[in-house]
């Protein structure tokens, strides 16, 4: 089975974020980048499927030169090949624009299965995988926890709200967006890194960007606020008020 894993490089989780002067994106100068977490789980799922069923895992990532480090890491963890779609203006493209870039390469590769994280840690739109499936004309399922290869295709477990799961059977080729935490991630090894050096990374140039249908207006840091409110009354009254606030205002119970 040939599996294509679409991954994205995002700022590290504990990076100190500053807003760029334009106000439309973060200041990238002092930020380290890493693999988008759900994509790491998509890669892990692909590697485990390959270990079980054989085949090939190809990783694909669009972005500037810096994303090659994330591709190398994926090769080190066990992917067989990497494709880098070189694009310095990926931030200017909307979901459709990014999915179009990926679709072009995916068409040529003609994989049996495409995996990607359910959403990105930076924008969190959760659309790229779905749009990509639509562009390729293949079925998709989102928020996948488990994948099993069957004679007729796939059996997958989707996560729904409120602790519910949905089991779906689908034919191949297909696209799945993977939820974090379904598997245990593996650690990178020295042997993996050394082997990665001998693996192929192909670079393709991204086509010109069409004018995006969606543009980002403004990003800003969440405002920190601290509010203290004293509840008064008998202990029973205070408790009742507190429960109400926790339920309907803070919504934690």
């Amino acid at each position: 089975m040939k599996i294509l894993v679409a991954i994205k490089q995002v700022p590290e989780r504990d990076a100190q974020i500053n807003i760029a002067d334009s106000g439309r994106w973060i200041d990238e100068s002092d930020v380290n980048y890493t693999i988008n977490e759900p994509d790491a789980y998509a890669l892990e799922e692909a590697l485990q499927l390959k270990e079980k069923n054989g085949g090939e895992v190809v990783v694909i990532c669009a972005g500037p030169e810096r994303v090659t480090s994330t591709l190398r890491e994926a090769l080190a963890k066990g992917a067989d090949r990497a494709i880098h779609i070189e694009s310095d203006d990926i931030g200017e493209r909307d979901t459709l624009g990014v999915a179009e870039m990926l679709a072009e390469v995916a068409k040529a590769e003609a994989p049996d299965l495409i995996l990607t994280g359910l959403q990105s840690d930076d924008l969190g739109l959760g659309q790229t995988g779905v749009v990509l499936a639509e562009l390729l004309g293949i079925p998709h399922a989102t928020i996948i926890m488990q994948v099993e290869v069957t004679d007729s295709g796939l059996k997958v477990k989707r996560e729904l709200e409120d602790g519910w799961f949905q089991h779906v059977e689908m034919p191949l080729p297909a696209l799945l967006t993977i939820q974090s935490g379904g598997n245990k991630l593996r650690y990178a090894t020295l042997m993996g890194i050394k082997k990665a050096k001998t693996k192929e990374t192909r670079t393709v140039q991204a086509g010109a960007a069409a004018s995006p249908a969606i543009t980002l207006e403004r990003v800003y840091l969440p405002k920190k606020q601290k509010k203290t409110e004293m509840l008064t009354g008998t202990p029973a009254e205070v408790a009742a008020k507190l429960v109400e606030k926790l339920k309907f205002e803070v919504r934690v119970i």
Binding site: E12, R13, D14, Q16, T34, K184, L185, R186, Y187, A188, T189, L190, M191, G192, I193, K194
Partner: protein
């Protein structure tokens, strides 16, 4: 061989005759007057057979050692240290005696006796060939024979003592099964001495002296081929092993080339490791002091050494068969297969007491960590906690897996200045100092001590783990990343001097990082404080404080006195039953603080109970890892456990409260 046995039978019969004619002690050694040509020929044949049998077994062992992989980065430098080790550990038997005084001394007498006896034996065999160079009639000869006789007496007594210890007292560390060969060897040594001493009781030229002479010779000829068959191979190899051992304690050699990932199979076993495993004398000192073996774990350092030895015997040094099994295999092989399992290898706390104790120069840590490297660098080792630790180091850059922002907040709250080149010291926080609540208290207190002394310091804006747990767990990729990033950070900040509260950080930065570059000079806060102790407050608290030697400060860095000086200024120093070089691990080292213990008792509980048992009011530590282990152990042991304080806290509590630190 047949001829020799005949000679022995004849000898035994005539000996009875000789003894019935009466014994007398003379101050000269009796010697056979005449050897026939037949006897000389018999001797030559006997020597040839004996030597042949010796090399029949010893040759293949030598071959295995030579065919093992070459050690890269091996250098005889510094030769002075090697000569000293040889003199002290081999010739003086310093380590043998120091670590087990009574049996050690007995062993030393046997060894020295052998040295004294070497000339006598040579002379003994040269005699029938007319080549004797010592004669009882010559002044020098007579003196030497008497000198050797005194040694022979000591050897005979000592070997009897050792025999009784091994077969009747039976210390458990010698193993559940004591090899019978050791008994045979002990008997042969005794016979060797008795047959020599006997010659002082009989007349020159008689049958008795001839019988004694042949008994002695025969014993010698049987003894020789037994050496390479048994652990007595250490007679031949261990002087060389001690001389050639890797320079430095727990020295992890760099991997050589793109195909080296650690000790995966026989092909990865180097000459030095081969030599070391064949030198094992099976005394069990390594296991006796091992925190894992003492708390019911699978790990048994002696059996790892013997496991590698038996692997080499069976599969050879070119084999691709894995050294470690992934699962615990129960078998009745000797040594049992379970000892060469991943579980065993990953139970090691790298406390180093095995390597420190070993009297024959075996360096256990490069072997155990080498086995771990082979498993981790290839991804063969799958462990939930281990993977979590490695991913935390990959992603967050600290072993606790917390966001780097947590460290920033701590620094801000404490008002620690960022190192900018104007301060004297860079204060290295480490993962514990930067993220762990108790570690932070220690760092904060040490910072107060530095402020009190007027020493300027700053902390790095960004700091990642030194890679210590990755290093000890055999993850060279993470370790290299951490070492390189740390070296770069120090260089960028132009750091000259570093001080740290963590012995693991100190060791890793000063020693292990050398593989990738030279770090600025670093010291442990105990060393810093001891140097400035004149200006630190003396407390008349009268409290008793038991000091626990951290492995990475004691055995790894040889720092024993400095922290004790600090403790003595804070109260009355109490020594634990096991202290200094023999200190018992807290259980945290080797990455085990992050793995957890699943089998047997907890190492930390065993040690904590020992410390509590001294009755001291305070447990004094000098390592944040020991501290965190004892914190858990003490609180679960007793409702009113002794106080647990780092030496920095012991000092800082007596400092006048400062206004400007915001405390």
């Amino acid at each position: 061989m047949v001829a020799l046995v005949c000679a022995a039978t004849v000898g035994a019969r005539s000996m009875g005759a000789a003894f019935s004619s009466g014994l007398h002690l003379s101050a000269t050694l009796a010697e056979p007057a005449h050897f026939s040509g037949f006897e000389a020929a018999l001797l030559l044949v006997g020597v040839a057979i004996s030597a042949g049998l010796f090399f029949w077994r010893f040759g293949p062992i030598l071959g295995t050692i030579f065919r093992s992989k070459k050690d890269t980065n091996f250098s005889l430098h510094p030769i002075g240290r090697r000569v000293w080790d040889f003199f002290w550990e081999v010739l003086c038997q310093g380590k043998v005696i120091k670590q087990r005084p009574l049996p050690g001394l007995a062993h030393a007498f046997v060894f020295w006796g052998f040295l004294a006896f070497a000339l006598v034996s040579l002379n003994h065999l040269a005699n029938p060939l007319g080549l004797a160079f010592l004669t009882p009639t010559g002044g020098v000869g007579n003196f030497y024979f008497i000198f050797a006789a005194i040694w022979a007496l000591l050897v005979a007594v000592s070997i009897t003592g050792l025999f009784v210890r091994r077969f009747f007292a039976r210390p458990i560390w010698l193993g559940t099964k004591v090899s019978n060969e050791s008994g045979v060897i002990a008997f042969l040594i005794f016979l060797l001495m008795a047959s020599y001493l006997g010659a002082f009781f009989v007349d020159d030229g008689g049958t008795a002296v001839k019988v004694l002479w042949w008994t002695h010779t025969l014993t010698l000829l049987i003894f020789l081929p037994l050496i390479p068959q048994t652990k007595h191979l250490h007679l031949v190899l261990s002087p060389l092993t001690v001389f050639l051992k890797r320079d430095g304690f727990s020295k992890i050699p760099p991997l050589s080339g793109d195909e080296d990932f650690g000790l995966i199979a026989g092909k990865d076993v180097t000459q030095l490791i081969s030599l070391q495993v064949y030198s094992c004398v099976e005394c069990g000192r390594c296991t006796e002091h091992c925190p894992a073996s003492n708390t019911g774990k699978v790990l048994n350092p002696k059996e790892i050494i013997l496991g590698v030895q038996s692997y080499l015997n069976q599969s050879g040094p070119a084999s691709d068969a894995p050294l470690l099994t992934e699962a615990l295999v129960e078998s009745r092989d000797n040594p049992p297969a379970k000892y060469m399992s991943m579980e065993a290898a990953f139970e090691c706390t790298t406390c180093g007491s095995c390597e420190y104790q070993c009297p024959v120069g075996i360096q256990h840590l490069p072997i155990i960590i080498g086995l771990r490297r082979g498993a981790t660098n290839t991804g063969a080792w799958e462990d939930t906690h281990g993977t979590k630790l490695f991913l935390a180091l990959e992603k967050q850059g600290n072993a606790l897996g917390l966001s780097a922002m947590e460290r920033d907040k701590f620094i801000q709250k404490q008002g620690f200045p960022i190192f900018d080149g104007t301060q004297e010291y860079c204060l290295w926080l480490g993962c514990m100092g930067g993220y762990d609540p108790k570690g932070r208290e220690i760092v904060a207190d040490f910072a107060r001590v530095m402020q009190h002394l007027g020493t300027t310091f700053g902390v790095l804006k960004k700091e990642k783990c030194t890679g210590d747990p990755a290093r000890r767990l055999g993850n060279d990729l993470v370790f290299q990343t951490m070492a390189e990033s740390g070296l770069k950070a120090f260089e960028a900040a132009k750091v000259q001097k570093i001080v740290s509260i963590c012995p693991h950080c100190v060791r890793t930065i000063s020693n292990d990082w050398r593989e990738y570059g030279i770090a600025p000079e670093i010291e442990h806060h105990s060393e810093f404080m001891a140097r400035h102790k004149e200006r630190l407050p003396k407390q008349a608290s009268g409290e008793s404080i038991v000091y626990h030697d951290p492995c990475y400060l004691g055995r790894y860095r040889d720092v024993y006195d400095e922290p004790r000086e600090i403790v003595k200024m804070a109260g009355e120093l109490v020594e634990a039953p096991r202290s200094h070089e023999r200190s018992f691990c807290c259980g945290a080292g080797g990455g085990l603080a992050f793995l957890g213990e699943e089998r047997g008792e907890r190492v930390s509980h065993v040690r904590a109970a020992e410390l509590v048992g001294t009755g001291a009011q305070i447990v004094g530590t000098a390592c944040p890892f020991c501290n965190t282990m004892f914190r858990d152990a003490l609180s679960s042991m007793s409702d009113a456990p002794p106080q647990l304080l780092d030496i920095a806290q012991l000092t800082a509590r007596a400092l006048p409260k400062m206004q400007d630190t915001g405390e």
